[in-house]
């Protein structure tokens, strides 16, 4: 089946352009790109009304709570949320209960995911068994079963020898390892970033230096092993020089950041609002601005939602006891568009970090506005204003820090392999 999407502002993150044009989708791929004019190809035509058409978002690090905590999020609810949020590929985290650390479990999840979710789901697997940092998982079998990357998520592999072996083995198979950079001793028990705000609230803080220390250790390990490595989230200015140097030295390293660290700062926690408790904790405004700049110039490669569903019970607790994490699949795009509206990023740059770079890093052919690329596309209006109501989210969990906030930008339609998986209902 073919569709012809005409009169759209085509966002091309590879060329860095946004121009009016049309896209012919056939057989799940982008068959033809036509710039300007209103060509007639004699097929079913969808007039996009001059709205933006961009490669769908590839979101690395989505937590779907299957198995273990399906009441927080299932593949069906996450997939529906992703489609509505413009995320056409969810790269899921293995920090499930139990951890996704064996090929049998991974294959089972893939089958469930593909049956239940309307978008692409690519699973990651744990780097060490049980995410305990003692023994590497069956990286080879897991790759055969479809694991696209290996990560222990927010568990840092403390033992450098274990990490070194896992990295070395991963390198031999060409596997991508995703690390959470924190010096574990310094960050133990922390609920906030150390500084005036943490002290005023009496919350245990972690110095931002813990991120730099974690990164520097891992960089040394990459230099030793030659592994392919991606940092899940860089959130502090102090970590950036080490990242820059590692890239300049030619190490195979890339880095991401989360939408929450990019658009919020530590003061948003205000009066112990646990929906703003994320891991690592929100940072200072200076850090946030440094991360925006690093993203703009390309030092930080990817931007993701770090979607982490938590139910009301695990958030309605004293701040230190409350669970970390925020849902983000449906708010990633409107929150990221804040940076476009503020003039910090342009749209092609935004989709470079949301779609192109994560796809490239995972070796996927999507994320591009190019002939032959998969027709994973989103049509959106970057300007339409709305006030976010968390109860209107499609995720089972409603723990968003953006509740009640004014946002701009809505997804009008989402296509996965040319199939319409979401269309906004007229309000």
């Amino acid at each position: 089946m073919s569709i012809f999407l005409t009169n759209a502002r085509l966002i091309d993150p590879e060329q860095g352009t946004e121009e009016i044009g049309a896209v012919l989708v056939d057989d799940g791929v982008i068959k033809e790109l036509v710039y300007g004019g209103n060509p007639d190809l004699g097929v079913k035509t969808v007039d996009c009304g001059g709205k933006c058409l961009a490669p769908g978002i590839v979101d690395i690090g989505v937590k779907v709570c299957e198995p273990g905590e399906r009441h927080k999020e299932s593949y069906r609810s996450a997939g529906t949320a992703a489609a509505a949020g413009g995320v056409t590929t969810m790269v899921t985290r293995p920090d499930t209960l139990p951890a996704t650390d064996n090929p049998e479990a991974l294959e089972f999840l893939e089958r469930r995911a593909n049956a239940a979710a309307p978008v692409n789901v690519l699973p990651m697997a744990a780097l060490t068994k049980g995410r305990e940092g003692r023994e590497m998982t069956e990286i080879g079998f897991l790759m055969d079963a479809g694991a696209v990357a290996f990560t222990d998520c927010d568990h840092v592999v403390r033992d450098a020898k274990v990490l070194g072996r896992a990295l070395s083995y991963a390198r031999s198979l060409g596997a991508l390892v995703i690390g959470h950079v924190q010096e574990p001793g310094l960050s133990a028990g922390a609920a906030a970033t150390s500084g005036k705000f943490a002290s005023l609230r009496g919350l245990p803080g972690v110095s931002p230096i813990a991120e730099r220390m974690g990164l520097e250790r891992d960089i040394a390990m990459i230099a030793m092993t030659g592994a392919r490595y991606h940092v899940d989230q860089i959130t502090t200015a102090q970590a950036l020089p080490a990242l820059r140097q590692a890239k300049e030295e030619g190490l195979d390293i890339t880095a991401g950041t989360s939408i929450h660290h990019l658009t919020l700062n530590e003061f948003d926690v205000a009066d112990y609002r646990t929906f703003f408790k994320v891991k690592p904790p929100l940072r200072s405004e200076e850090d946030r601005m440094a991360i925006v700049e690093a993203l703009r110039e390309g030092l930080i490669d990817t931007l993701s939602s770090m979607h982490t569903p938590q139910d009301e019970e695990s958030k309605r607790l004293p701040f230190e006891e409350a669970a970390s994490g925020a849902v983000g699949l449906e708010t990633l795009l409107p929150a990221a568009l804040r940076l476009v509206h503020s003039g910090d990023l342009d749209l092609p740059t935004l989709f470079r970090v949301l779609s192109l770079n994560p796809a490239k890093r995972l070796g996927l052919s999507c994320g591009r506005m190019a002939k032959g690329a998969p027709a994973d596309l989103i049509l959106f209006d970057p300007d339409v204003p709305f006030v976010l109501d968390r109860w209107a989210l499609r995720s089972k969990s409603k723990n968003t820090p953006f509740d009640g906030q004014r946002m701009q930008g809505k997804v009008l339609a989402t296509y996965v392999a040319g199939r319409t998986v979401y269309e906004m209902q007229d309000a």
Partner: protein, 316 residues
Amino acid sequence: MAFSHSHLLGIEPLSPDDINAILDLAEQYVKLNRREVKHGDALAGLTQINMFFENSTRTQASFEIAGKRLGADVMNMAMQASSIKKGETLIDTAMTLNAMHPDLLVVRHPQSGAVNLLAQKVKCAVLNAGDGRHEHPTQALLDALTIRRAKGRLHRLNIAICGDIAHSRVARSNILLLGKMENRVRLVGPSTLMPSGIKEFGVEVYESMHEGLKDVDVVMMLRLQRERMDGGFIPSEREYYHRFGLDAEKLSHAKPDAIVMHPGPMNRGVEIDGEIADDINRSVIQDQVEMGVAVRMAAMDLLARNLRARPKEVQA
């Protein structure tokens, strides 16, 4: 300006006028408390529940006496032994209590912010009797009243707060209160016991008692919170006492009429020399306990007035 708050969760939201309102009313209760018949009726008919999730003898007794002297029906709940141990969440506990229609809830909790959370969920007036490392507002208020009575004013004084600042909610509330009242606050202690970002609080930080105590009007000692430390903050108690414990020699650097305060309970020989603690010419530690009752009476009285003034929910 009338005191308009519905809870007393910390010093942070209070204005200097609010603070003066509490202290002025507390002065009246000091007089009442020194009479033979110590009864008022400001809280008559109201139910006060003291919920202590953390052990306390002094603060709990002080709140209990304060409530009883003003005619409230006071109930103590030792939460450590109760349903919290059975897995009930703080919110559920709050909802259960709500159904019993208390008017004043006095809460101490080991987690910072827990009292704020409770206050959002209950309908009565909540008083923070200490939450984690966050705030202990009635302690700062009783300290302020003690200073005001001893020094004749509560502004433009040099005040040194010494010792374990990092783990102390008393220190945080005092820094905020004394700053709002326009005093110069110095913090003295080892760098390992200073909270991060402390210089942004508008205080001067010293790592030597000699320099820190030089010419101060008030020396406020803090308890070394051994129960909150999991090792490695100080090398040993004897070295701590040698460098930071208050003795006559260190006190000699302060003004000759400087007063010595301690929120209690004291670790004699760790942060303070026993003789100084007992020196009636310098130590106002007993006055602090006395002012504690008066300040708590005043705070509960003011909150109760606002409670009574609030429009009642219509009940079927």
